[in-house]
């Protein structure tokens, strides 16, 4: 059982959404806003690219998000991640269509 999850992002508008709305969710309506997470913290973007088998290294990491604050995962990929784009994969991933709202300090004025 994971204690926390992380989301890795490369899309600038999604970064803006996290910063301004404290909302973590894919912006892709074509798959019902399906949003991928991993329980693994990567400090090295190339390591994230390698184990999650992404076409390019992510630019941002969101998290840790405590497991208790995550909605149920709609899609639980059987680990480990398959190879792609010359990367071996091997990481762990899961997906939910629900948004996660981060703790924030809001200026009411």
């Amino acid at each position: 059982m994971a204690t926390a999850y992380y989301r890795y992002i490369s899309y600038p508008l999604e970064v803006t959404q996290v910063v301004h709305e404290r909302k973590v969710q894919s912006m892709n309506p074509k798959r019902g806003y399906a949003t991928w997470y991993t329980p693994t913290r990567y400090d090295d973007p190339t390591k994230a690219q390698q184990e999650l088998a992404l076409s390019k290294p992510p630019t941002h990491r969101v998290g840790p998000i405590p497991a208790g604050e995550m909605r149920d995962f709609d899609i639980q990929q059987l680990p480990p991640v398959a190879p792609a784009f010359g990367q071996p994969g091997g990481g762990v991933e899961a997906c939910t269509r629900s948004a996660v709202w981060l703790f924030g300090l809001w200026d009411l004025w």
Partner: protein
């Protein structure tokens, strides 16, 4: 990102994937499935497990210039995972190759030819051809924040 336009391109590729998998599924594949938009990337993947227990996939990734999709990159992978050191280590034997590129807007005939070439190439990769070897990350409950 123009999700509508990209998704239409992936629709076209999925039709070719489905046709191929239905054609070969009964004889050569134990399981097959398609997936798209993994980690928000404009990619569609056909994954299959052959009767030789080698996992194989074909990826078609849309390449963009700004928000304008102009090319589809097709690539293949095959892999097998196995335990070593009495289950202490999980190793992946794998192979990867780029098959080619198809210009967008897609020419269906050219796309079908490229996907069929990808399928033929990846089908020929048996266990002995999986020359790359990578130790898989261990995970037991996730890391500390």
């Amino acid at each position: 990102m123009n999700y509508e336009e990209l998704d239409r391109i992936l629709d076209t590729v999925e039709e070719v994937f489905s046709s191929l998998a239905n054609q070969y599924g009964y004889y050569e594949l134990k399981h097959w499935s398609t997936e798209r938009w993994r980690w928000d990337e404009p990619v569609i993947t056909l994954t299959s497990v052959g009767r030789d227990d080698v996992n194989r996939n074909i990826h078609a990734l849309t390449i963009q210039e700004g928000s304008y999709p102009y090319e589809l990159l097709v690539e293949i992978n095959a892999w097998q995972d196995e335990d070593e050191a009495e289950g202490e280590i999980r190793m992946r034997k794998w192979q990867h190759a780029k098959v080619g590129r198809v210009q967008i807007p897609l020419d269906t005939e050219q796309l079908e030819g490229m996907i069929r070439k990808a399928y033929d190439n990846v089908s020929r990769w048996r266990e002995g051809k999986l020359a790359r070897k990578t130790r898989l990350a261990s995970w037991a409950g996730g890391p500390e924040p």
